[in-house]
Amino acid sequence: MPLNTASVVIGLSYASLLFLVAVGLSVVFGLMRFVNLATGSLYLIGGYLAWTIAGELGSFWLALLGGALGALAVGVVIERGFLERLHRNELLQVCLTLGVAYVVQDVTRWIWGGDPLRLRPPESLRGSILLLGSIVPTYRVALIVAGVVLAGLVWYLLERTKWGAYVRAGVDDLEMLECLGINGRRVFAIVFALGALLCGLGGALGTPVTGVAPGADIQILLMALIVVVLGGLGSVSGAVVASVVVGLVDSMVRTYWPEASFFAVWVLAALVLAVRPQGLLGRVTA
């Protein structure tokens, strides 16, 4: 099967978005065994806010910032308002975050309507460029670069700072971390907020390529869940690897066998989980 540069670029740019959504989900789960089904809603909020801000102020970069901060604000409200009391109760977490997802979907449909909205990329990133003998959209390439940079930042934060060491220690053994005098809940709150920020940024960045519409939240949530379990809950490097794998498989299947596109990644997920229940690079078992 010849590798088509365009579909690789599309796959990798999708992988960037997936990573942004999945990494917060994964680390939050690793820390607190917390299943956040409202993740896709934060992505949706980021996308819609970015669209409105870009329309009002005309600046793509402000739109990115606004989308990310809006999702951050909603994330903080969810965390402060509800999640504290649902520690270690998966069923209620599922029920609550699904409820939030429903509310967000309906409210955003109320405000922005049911039609897909698309944001135009900034002037400098429009058009296409020649890459390895194929013509590819500039914005897609920029997305890949942004994904790599942000993944690098997250990696640095978690692997090279003291605060990141707290997070990693918490993923491995939260009780031990708290015994050492570190407030695990505060670490969790910060991780949750940062995850929400990245989700919103993902939504804003993704709007020029995928558009934003009701249902986009569910779609990205399902894909992010696949990434998280494939990579292994709580593992950042796992999230990177799994995003790339899922993004590429998705775009390849879309190119060569379009009818199977929406469930090929699920076959992949089922196969990997059946062989390795803890995911590719997972350290935590649920």
């Binding site: 509800f82 409820g99 109320w110 869940l225 696949i226 469930f263 803890q278």
Partner: protein, 346 residues
């Protein structure tokens, strides 16, 4: 009042409640018009579905997000049998149950390697795979068009005297009652108690010498069978089966019905199904914002009655006791001891 007398009184009340409920359900077609009756039929069917899901979620502590696989499998089995082979009702339902059990026996060894959130994801993945297979096998399943025009079965001895909606209602009622009775027998057996024990602490149960894996495998198969039966009834009810019946959204809805009603209680899922469906149909008559309202209800459930509607009286007693305790503590000291706060929060 002595304990024994109280429990006997309680039993008598319970019996009375059952009698009243059954009488009300039997009389419903005389009072309700066609549309509310069809909503009631749907509640019975989804109630059975949620109760089958509760066997895994509430009794055994296995959070599944893929239970719609069985709901859809049962639906497709009766759909294909009724459409192409004109198989009569009884054998068709039995084959649907069998299909659910077999599907569970095939997928069980895969999903039961995991638990918790991984179990959730793996059941979801396998269901999505099944969704894809059904969607691609257009020649047999009709792909995304599904199988329309499945005849809704009727009770022959009532055929002349009742209109079709009421007739099918009685049919569904009879089947659901039998299914629920058998489920009650299962959860009260020693097998049912073993499920609860696994939920509470699987390691201890294993240490006591129980084959916990086999028990979970068996309950997974059982839940698959009940789920398929509910799906078969739903297909007959709608006269149609499509890939939507396999969708994870159906599984999520069942999950929410179970939690709202009260996971791990016997009647909770049925109550939850009634609340969710009634709200959907009621709210959608005066506003399009029913999704918003449904979401708010989930949130309110979690905040106000985290263990479900069925356990509400218990919860109220608890809250009242806590308020009273705080009133008692208040005058003693302005600020409470930190240790006490910790105990109360957990």
């Amino acid at each position: 009042m002595p304990m024994e007398q109280m429990s006997r009184l309680r039993q008598r009340w319970q019996l009375l409640a059952y009698v009243v409920a059954v009488a009300a359900l039997l009389l419903a077609p005389a009072v309700l018009s066609t549309y509310p009756l069809s909503v009631l039929t749907e509640i019975l069917i989804f109630g059975l579905f949620a109760m089958s899901l509760n066997l895994l979620l509430g009794y055994t502590g296995l959070p599944t997000l893929g239970h719609s696989a069985f709901f859809g499998a049962g639906g497709y089995v009766v759909g294909l049998l009724a459409k192409y082979y004109q198989v009569p009702l009884g054998p068709a339902l039995l084959l649907a149950i069998l299909a659910g059990v077999v599907l569970a026996l095939v997928t069980g060894p895969i999903v039961l390697r995991t638990s918790g959130a991984y179990f959730l994801m793996l059941t979801l993945s396998l269901t999505q795979v099944l969704f894809g297979v059904v969607w691609l096998a257009r020649g047999v399943t009709g792909g995304d068009d599904g199988l329309p025009g499945i005849p809704t079965p009727q009770l022959a001895f009532l055929a002349g005297s009742l209109e079709p909606t009421a007739n099918f209602y009685y049919l569904a009622l009879a089947i659901v009652v039998v299914a629920i009775a058998s489920m009650a027998w299962v959860v009260r057996s020693s097998f049912g108690l073993a499920l609860l024990a696994i939920r509470e602490n699987e390691r201890v149960v294993e240490g006591l010498g129980y084959p916990t894996w086999l028990v979970k495998y068996a309950v997974y198969a059982l839940a698959g069978g009940y789920g398929a039966l509910a799906g078969a009834l739903y297909t007959f009810f709608k006269g149609y089966v499509g890939p939507g019946q396999l969708s994870w959204l159906v599984a999520g809805e069942g999950l929410v019905m179970t939690i709202v009603g009260g996971a791990g209680t016997f009647w909770g899922p049925m109550v939850g199904a009634a609340v969710v469906l009634l709200l959907r149909y009621e709210v959608s008559t005066f506003t399009q914002r029913w999704l918003l309202i449904l979401g708010l209800i989930f949130i309110a459930t979690v905040v106000l009655m985290p263990r479900g509607i069925v356990r509400l009286p218990e919860r109220l007693r608890e809250v009242r006791a806590r308020v009273r305790r705080e009133e008692l503590l208040e005058p003693v000291a302005g600020e409470r001891q930190p240790a006490e706060q910790v105990v109360e929060r957990s």
